[in-house]
Amino acid sequence: MLAYSVYGEAGGPGKTTISGSLAAAHARHDLDVLAIDLDPQNASLSYLLDVDDDREDPDVDHLVRHLIDRPKGSFEDLIRTTDHGIDIIPAHNALSGLDDLLDRVAKTANDMGEDFDPTTRLREVLVEFGVADRYDVVIIDPSRTEGAGLYNAIAATGSLVVPAEATAKGKQSVIGLEQLVGGLEEELGGIDVGVLAVVPNKVDKRSGTQRTYLQDLQEVAYPVPVEIPIRGALFDGAWEHRCSPYEFVEEHRERVPDRERETLELIDELAATIEAEADL
């Protein structure tokens, strides 16, 4: 099985757009995809894929309840299926209090002499659910900020896809990520976190300064299989119509410009490269 979190420092340039696009690309390769939205912000993967209608309802069962061991129903019932065949566990507003909730439960468990690791809860519920037997690909869109949502994502997937800007911040953000992940690897008892791909995003080939920064990114020690060009109309259209960019061009564009077709092919190539890493 292939599992990864899509995360980069510096605000996550296109984190959610890339998550949604890759989920769609894998599904188009006839793979069973489970996406998990751990981002408490409203403009998250659940919004993009149009499954966020329950996020404010305090009475529904949601992933946070399962992470703190107080589920209201089965894990399977958390999963929604989008109109385009991607299974997704949507975000809920309770995610914004995840750190506090996990800390509180951990403290109680600790006082009772029970073992409760707030960083590996997502891994535990996914393993218990038997996710590896049910899905080919798990993609997590984690929270933008450091904390339980991000740590749980990385501790569950073990692999990352890292969107990066082709700016002075880009290479620094990859270096910053190395420090964050290094600490986490140690905390988790020496696991190896892998970087499946660094993905320069919003690339403008005509910009000379960007070319320099792209060379910087190419020099990081991780694979950089494709560069995603700046494509405002394509990705904004996907957000406006709340679907992946593939469905946007197929269902909402009368004529697809070549440059958008080429960009979708790049995402497809990225998905295929990542799949090859997991022998899918």
């Binding site: 707030p118 393993v127 073990g158 190395e178 905390e187 892998g194």
Partner: protein, 132 residues
């Protein structure tokens, strides 16, 4: 971080590393319960009742290596310092005969240095401080 796929963490078989950690936690809880029984024969002290009667050492009490470590000090160091830390890490692990987290090692080394200002000043003199 390494290039390519990371560890497969979602397949059903637990990794060994975690089993060891779980066992260590359970052992420490057992130690704690045993210790508490002995202690309860004596009078309850104010300190122990604040801790629900438990007084485990810090590394066995915390949830993660970053617990209680809310402050971050970023260190820019030269290459020999990195190698020196690796050597110190090996030496300390040999002395303690167990694995030590790098975060614990660094903070402990830092605290020890605070008790030896003269030697810290000597090191700075080597770098050219106090140069007449």
């Amino acid at each position: 971080m390494k290039p390519g796929a990371g560890d497969d963490l979602l397949s059903d078989d637990d990794d060994d590393q975690e089993d060891v950690d779980d066992a260590a936690v359970e052992d420490s809880v057992d130690d704690l319960l045993a210790g508490e029984d002995e202690g309860s024969d004596e009078s309850d002290t104010a300190a122990s009742s604040e801790n629900n009667g438990y007084s485990l050492p810090w590394i066995h009490r915390r949830n993660t290596v970053k617990s209680d470590r809310s402050e971050v000090i970023q260190l820019h160091v030269r290459e020999p310092t990195v190698d020196g830390e690796a050597d110190l890490h090996d030496d300390v692990e040999d002395i303690l005969d167990e694995d030590v987290y790098a975060l614990d090692l660094r903070e402990a080394a830092y605290l020890v240095a605070m008790q030896h200002p003269d030697e810290v000043a000597d090191q700075l003199r080597e770098w050219g401080y106090d140069f007449e």
